[in-house]
Symmetry: C5
Subunit: 354 residues, 5 copies
């Protein structure tokens, strides 16, 4: 999450449609997975050759091509040319610093989404751009991740005669969107636990370390918020059926995904409000502590300053100080000091400073 | 209210429509209440067997099935299959961490609402999910509570020849929504009393304990706000008659429920503003107290420091200090000290520090 | 304004349309005023009997029935039955803790509004619910106040051959709404004067008492805001001519009332901003005062601490302290102390602490 | 700007259409300027007699009547009667405490706008209400100012054969609106300069006086904001061509005025944000200064307290204090004190308090 | 960025369409570049004579005229007259203090945009107004910059047989808008780096200098926000195809520019939130530091005050003080002092002040 905006500068001035890879290169070799399936058949092909991947289909149904590693501009050009995608689409796929969005082109939908996961090594929330192109009978996914994120869906496609095999490419899109939204829930739960933990720490012992944690969590929530908001727009646009590529049956499922996102945004807002409340509480508690400290200092100062002054007076070396010669001068003074001391204590008690 | 977002993670990656119960299991046995009624007849059946519950109707009118305890996925499957509900609906009913919503399906409306009550044992506001399916001549309610929440409505159905017996299933839905909204009013009144009590305490004696109470109340109001907002959308959608299942007559009643929710939101907003104002007041008062303490410390320090210095000077042991030998040196010094003391007192009075 | 939300709890669970009086009972006897008027005639009847009030009209024009005191549910039932009002309307009239709203029913409009006045005895802003039902040739007003609020309108109806006698019942509604909005202006002016007075006090002498006043005024403005907002919706709905009961001519007059409300909301917003600015100013000034006090304490402490230390050194009783025996030791030390003192004064002056 | 809301109370309860002058009476005599012009001719008449002013036109073109001084209700009645204006329009013209608005009546448009200027004598921003009635071939302006504000427009009408002589009354309205909006720019520029000046003062020497200036400027901006907002609505309504009285050609010019207002609102928002930032900065700087002062006090106190204590110890008069008799007791103690002193200085340096 | 609003005052009262140059004069001579191109041909002409620039086209395709330096009102009049532009358009081009906007006129579109760059000399973000007029087969750009900003586009037009040569004038407009938006990205990246750098400094060592930097960055972001917002409206209006001058093909490219702006606004919002968070953090940390300092002062004061008092007591010169004569009085007192000292240390440790 360290790079907030993409290094778009390296592209400034280039003509549109220039295929330049923007972002971190996470993969060495581009791995391609091709899945052909219909209600009866299921074929899976893992390859690194784009020609092999674009070969003839082995079923009459849906073809799903998943590209792992998008830095190879040659492969990108082949795919773009083969399917006839718009140059801007290809340019956007290569730029991994995009905002989630949905665009309708002639004959296909182009969707950018962001998966999210907690990177244990970096100890921060990491995002991963997924580009999806939905055609009538095909779906192409592009990502940069080392591990194939979609294995659970491929498993579901292969193993059981489940609903997904009977449906069109739009249902596959739904399955992918659902998986992506689930990735947000996992991060949100983790952060939620951290927030509750920090809240308890804040109530028991508010210190600057906890404060810094709260600020860190607030910032994480800010990123979550910024990430979920455009995702909601994307799924909302899909669900409002703005494309003929999405069937009525799938709309109902997408509505479900949309509800999950709304629920998540609600939770994020709640967490943000809670964190803000914690900061307010911290400031109030700190100001209160300050008052306590100041009261203590004031009480002690006020108790001893007059007494020290009195002792100073009778430590003076004047030749003519009649009190010094009195027999009971000393005990009398001590008594007087004690009376002053107790009197001031009572004064402070009355003022509720003690 | 400790679990802010549902533990959706246990479902991540599962295909849609998987019936998994999400939430706390509050009931051991699933209790089913079936009420068949029309203008003339009223039959009530309490059972634990789903087959018995789904048996033939005993009146030509409305059938209301209330399910207490939704963890038994087998029973859920039977009901879903019998009425032909969409898999996603059944999945949502089992997930008790949903946001209130309304969805129209072919032939029936699916509504999720949240009842709210103050749990004396946990000393916190607790919510309880109620799922409602409204068909043309039936209504099914799902909840997880041990005590049947709807007894007052069943009483009204059984005892008097009231308006409810003459109306359709949509009016029954209204009666249930009205009951749910009333549950919010009860909690809001209780919290309102607590707020007023805390406000008085804040004005009389602002201390950190009261501050923490204010923060607690602010948070309760945050939850109330988050809970009421989607409820308003649900009732608003019903009242705008977005479904043929809702008749004109019932619309007028739903408008009334809607008004109550708007009134409640108004009260919640007012309470939130009042609580914010109380926090501001606390900070101002605390900063003011600090000023008082500092003034006091400063006054005492400034009064005694010069005097102590003077006493220190005449406590020095120089051999040649002519003042020490003066006959009236001591009383003269005391007089000078008194003059300084009174002068500074007057200075502070002029500065309004005393 | 002590009861922020109505004690709706006493109605929880009751069937809709139950006539239960919610609110304070301010009147013992229900006083009914019936006014029949057209361009030529004017008849006024004051009675306590509902039967007499519902007797035959004495003119072909408009009938206005004003009910003072709505706690008598029998009278309410008679009126509701006589005119055929919806049960929910009658229920709402009895509940004096409603939010201003407007509802169109078959053949009549139902309006809830709130008058506002400053209760000298309670020293707080008090509201008074007015329910209005507008029919084609009649208008019924319900209120709970002891003094008939509408005497000025009745006077206008009786005395002069003014425009109001020539117009329909919708114009009478306008006259009443205008009177209600005027009641807000009176309160707003009074509060405005208080705000300006408090602002001057804040600038001259910011103290906690003024601060508390500002908080009180802020809260009053909060209530004003909450009261005016729904009123604006009501008049806005009337003015947008959502009913055939409102004629084109009257629309122009209602637009005028609407403008007054918008102007009032503007003033309320301005006052709220001013009050917020005053709180900010108070905090800044308080923090500034603190700085002044601390500076003063620091200056005095830093001036006297080293001097007192020096005096302490030469008050020690070591046998071998050569300085003590010097002839000019004492005046030299005094000189040195004076130099230190002046040096530090100059240092503080340079630091702009003095 | 001392009267935030109009003293509407003096009108409470009066029937609508009562002509009562609300506001300050700035003029003794009502001065009327009548301008008749078309492409060829231009006639100007200055009079105080309303009959003369309403005499026959001297050109076939546009007639512009400008009324300076609106307190004379007789003159107002004559005009209202002569042109057949709605009673509410005449009432609004007399009430100079209106919010800018636009209203369409049968055959004419009624516009209220506010000019703004900086009153050097009162040292505050002052507003001046201008009422404009636009008919097909006439335009009437009402104001209360002593100096005719519109002389530049009359000059343009008289001297050159400019575009304004060829256009209709709607273009004259545009010229007036343009002049009014320009009056806002002049004030905004002046305030902008004051803000920049204050900002520099804030950065160089943040003191309470500057703080109070910032608060004053913040409040001026609040009034500017409140004044411009409704003006934008008025010009926006004109420009969206909601009236047949506004021609297509003039729309383009009004769009230009609208752009100027939007630009002005932008600048006002920016200024408000800058002022808020300055207040935040002040608080931060003040809190920082406090820290500096406290550090200094603490350092000095901590340096001298232990030393003073040591000196006190060896000032005690015990008979048996062996150190006092040591030959090098005194220099050794001085050395020890110096070591303590330097040690603590180093400690504070390490803590970055010095 | 020192002049926040244009010095519009110099134009107050002038009739509309007066050609007055508002803004800084950056160029001495007006340089004109004329580019005529179609798919086959490309001609470029650099001149300072407007007559030469307006001579006959040398290709059947698109003509692009770029004017560098707009202060010469004569040249402006020639162009305005030659193409028949509206007087307000010419007036707006000369006023370089405009807000970005788009206006459709009969046969051409008029667009105002702002380029942005970081001026190294002034060390601040500087904007540069670009006015664009798009006709069916021509495009005219006006700017005040010394260096031709559009050289990269002219290069693309001249060198390669790229897409831009085959497209219409609307595509050229797109290329220019893309270049302008890229200029924002460059500044945003630079500022983003500064923010991250400052954030690290804030966490390591929060001091007033860093605080001032944060305020400066906050203000830069405020300007960025204000600059991007209207640009988004302009491109949004173009992309929603509100003009027949924009073809379907170009719309897709403009959508891409729009996405970039939205992404940029997102980044700006994120930066603003981060900067706000940093200010909050600073205040919290400062208040915490204050607590630390106060604790330290209090601990030291409380430790030494009673001890100094004790020493003072035994420094008194009473004749009858039996303790002074005790053989072990002195060591006993020292022991007692040590016990007090350690006791208080333990007390502070328990209070967690040490």
């Amino acid at each position: 999450m360290s790079k907030k905006i993409g290094k778009r500068s390296i592209k400034a001035g280039l003509p549109p449609g220039s295929l330049v890879h923007v972002g971190e290169k996470k993969n060495d070799i581009t791995k391609i997975t091709v899945v052909d399936y219909d209600e009866k058949d299921f074929f899976e092909l893992k390859t690194t050759s784009i020609d092999e991947a674009l070969s003839a289909r082995r079923s009459a149904g849906i073809r799903w091509i998943n590209i792992d590693g998008i830095h190879d501009t040659e492969i990108m050009k082949s795919i773009g040319g083969n399917f006839g995608f718009h140059p801007l689409v290809m340019e956007d796929i290569l730029n991994t610093e995009q905002r989630p969005k949905i665009e309708e082109y002639d004959g296909y939908l182009y969707i950018i989404a962001k998966m999210i996961y907690f990177d244990e090594k970096l100890n921060e929330i990491t995002t991963e751009q997924v580009s999806i192109i939905l055609g009538k009978d095909y779906l192409i996914t592009f990502q940069e991740n080392k591990d194939n994120f979609f294995t659970t869906i491929i498993d579901r496609l292969s193993k059981n005669v489940s609903i997904i095999r009977k449906m069109g490419s739009d249902y596959l899109l739904y399955a992918i969107m659902d998986l992506i939204v689930d990735s947000y829930f996992l991060v949100l739960e983790k952060t939620g636990e951290k927030i509750e933990f920090t809240e308890d720490a804040m109530i028991l012992n508010p210190n600057p370390k906890t404060l810094r944690k709260v600020h860190g969590l607030k910032r994480e929530m800010l990123y979550m918020h910024k990430a979920v908001w455009p995702l909601r727009e994307v799924v909302g646009a899909l669900e409002r059926r703005e494309s003929y590529l999405i069937s009525d049956t799938t709309i109902i499922y997408l509505r479900d995904v949309y509800d999950h996102i709304v629920q998540m945004m609600d939770a994020i807002e709640t967490y943000r409000d809670i964190l803000s409340g914690m900061l307010d509480l911290y400031l109030s508690v700190a100001s209160n502590k300050m008052n306590e400290i100041m009261k203590f200092l004031t009480v002690v100062s006020v108790l001893f300053m007059p007494l020290t002054f009195l002792a100073g007076v009778y430590g003076m070396n004047f030749e003519h100080m009649p009190e010094l010669k009195l027999k009971y001068g000393y005990p009398f003074l001590l008594l007087f000091m004690a009376v002053c001391f107790i009197g001031m204590l009572m004064f402070f008690r009355k003022k509720k400073w003690l």
